[in-house]
Symmetry: C2
Subunit: 144 residues, 2 copies
Amino acid sequence: MGDELHIEVTSEAQSNTKLEVKERGHEAVVDEPSQFGGEDEGPNPLEYMFTGLAGCLNVTIHHVALEKEVEVKKLEIDVTGDINLEKFMDGTGERSGFQEITVEIEIETDTGSEKESQIIQEAEERCPVSDNLQHETNVKLNKG
Amino acid sequence: MGDELHIEVTSEAQSNTKLEVKERGHEAVVDEPSQFGGEDEGPNPLEYMFTGLAGCLNVTIHHVALEKEVEVKKLEIDVTGDINLEKFMDGTGERSGFQEITVEIEIETDTGSEKESQIIQEAEERCPVSDNLQHETNVKLNKG
């Protein structure tokens, strides 16, 4: 199972906040609400990141549950965080990203609470987006 | 400028791959292509993460350029990565996320190439999503 999967998105700025993005056959729009100079035509970048985390945990929790022969009957995933925008705004202050991201999971299965917790913990370790947020990842920027 | 911004997305699983997500007034669907058991009703989680990075770099590059009184005339941002799915699939192997994420930037401005490179480098440091990917971030999972 050592297969490598290639992931690619391409995009072009439509304004200082709006970005049109192509992901395989899909298209998405990123924008900011008016308080950050945008027209709110789509979720903002941080909401996209949180959506990726929620989507990855959904897939991975179901995958791990299936391995353990547990049926997931209902799964709700909320992702929240508070971010200090000082470094983004003027270049000073601490790190620009979230210090902490909180995920609230409501799950209903055909097994007990302890096994549900094991599934969630294992899914957190095997979810790629969770791994990329929790550990250092090299982001290489090339200017064409 | 020490304001904190609260970011929140809520979601509910529709299948083992499909997740319906609400982000303020916006809605999104995450899914997987058929090779991973989905129906490809939306971008996959990794594409959402890359979209967040591209959107964040767009906003931050424009923000830093404005500070330096540089006009951005055109900006294209592509994000790519190859991921080994071994740990996701069966729990063995190295880290589950990307070892490296590559961003290709095509930019046209009213200044020279050296200043463009300075803007991009500073934007990388001040972009929250880039920061959360490049550095360790605590992801706290709570089971309700």
